[in-house]
Subunit: 247 residues, 2 copies
């Protein structure tokens, strides 16, 4: 039996520690493919140093032009590979473990990568609410670090990103509208999944975000979201929860 794949994630105070949508994409892909893995938890301010140490590649550039390192990253003891970025991780696992269940039906990689971007663009209105609520679930070092990043990203003091009151209410309305767009895409598919009756990485992406919202938001907020669009999102999270994606 080969050694489990190592998955680097940022710890939070929710049960099971995992919270981020991008991390859940990697977890769900690993679990769906039936690959053994174990989590290694890295606080946000330590990500860059730790990733450099294991030879991970940067996934982008910081505003100052220097390399930017992000999680999820996996390290595969069977091959020595270190892979960052959730989509690249799915591509790597699909290529390296071809006998495991596929998440990319034949010839769909480009279309699903575009779907990934479309989901990110559509969920953009969720991010201020997610930032305001989700950050408080982190441990203090990561919380402080990610609050500063959020201030830069949204160009405002953290407290003003999405305070309770009219701005937060507006945020929830925007989220509901965004979910309506995604629901429209599912309606066009002619089945339960984006590819009709065929489960694919497109559904991993949606399920990962929904799982993320289900742990980040308060119970009554998530209960409300679950009921939107004929209960589609609750159903998807129920499906993802069949897989053991926490270790």
């Amino acid at each position: 039996m080969s050694e489990p794949i190592i998955l680097y994630d940022i710890p939070t105070q929710v049960p099971g520690k995992a919270l981020s949508g991008n991390m859940f994409k990697a977890r769900y892909t690993l679990a769906y493919k039936g690959l053994a893995y174990k989590s290694v938890w890295v606080e946000s301010p330590d990500v860059e140093e730790r990733m450099k140490a294991i030879g991970a590649k940067p996934t982008g550039l910081k505003p100052d032009g220097s390399d930017f390192y992000t999680l999820p990253t996996i390290q595969d003891p069977s091959t020595g590979a270190v892979v960052s970025d959730s989509f690249a991780i799915a591509e790597y696992l699909e290529k390296t473990y071809p006998s495991s269940p596929a998440v990319f039906p034949p010839n769909t990689k480009a279309l699903i990568s575009i779907f990934d971007s479309a989901i990110m663009n559509t969920l953009r209105p969720v991010f201020p609410v997610m930032s305001a609520i989700g950050t408080s679930k982190l441990y203090p070092r990561s919380e402080e670090y990610l609050k500063k990043q959020a201030e830069i990203r949204f160009g405002t003091k953290f407290e003003d990103i999405c305070p309770e009151g009219p701005k937060r209410e507006e945020g929830w309305k925007n989220i509901k509208a965004a979910f309506g767009v995604i629901d429209g895409w599912y309606s066009k598919s002619g089945g339960k999944w984006i590819m009709g009756d065929t489960f694919s990485y497109a559904d991993v992406i949606v399920a990962a975000w929904m799982r993320s919202f289900s742990v980040a938001f308060d119970k009554d907020q998530w209960e409300d979201m679950k009921s939107w669009n004929g209960g589609r999102w609750g159903g998807i999270v129920e499906e993802i929860n069949k897989y053991s994606i926490l270790d």
Copy 2:
């Protein structure tokens, strides 16, 4: 032999009359599926009345909230169906003529509809240049009508939408960047088409826009565009030109 399908399009002064990307999507779909059709040309200011007369459905709402009618629209004498909107036309033809070559591989309709939106979003920087240049190829009645629509859409006098000089130069740079994004998607596909070696409606969409640019822009501008991204766009238009999409 059944009567040809009628395709409603707006006439322009370019050879073959057809110019719009959305119209080329319908033409290419009909031609790829080997279905007989004939064009009926309607000047822009007459579209609403003509479409109401044949029982076409509106495809959206005008800013004042009233129904908005657009072309392409097809009228199929074999079934009596009248269908507007290029994507709906492709869906109708695929369903109604299942023995003709398919443009939607199994389970891809939702992903390709999202691709359609992604292409529209990505090509948004092309539209000011396209509007400034393409409108002049119309006949006077449509030209005047569509210039007014463009002024409303871009919120400025027609002459200021994309005048020659720095603004037009900036427009060309934006187009090149947008094409670079689409080229990145093709690179991910592992083949010549968005679905690798399988031709699909995703390629119809891209080919239709490229064909539109190739007839709307001046010869030297198109010669330049053809060479971008390793000549990908010239190659795609060459492929589309194998099909007789003008009658």
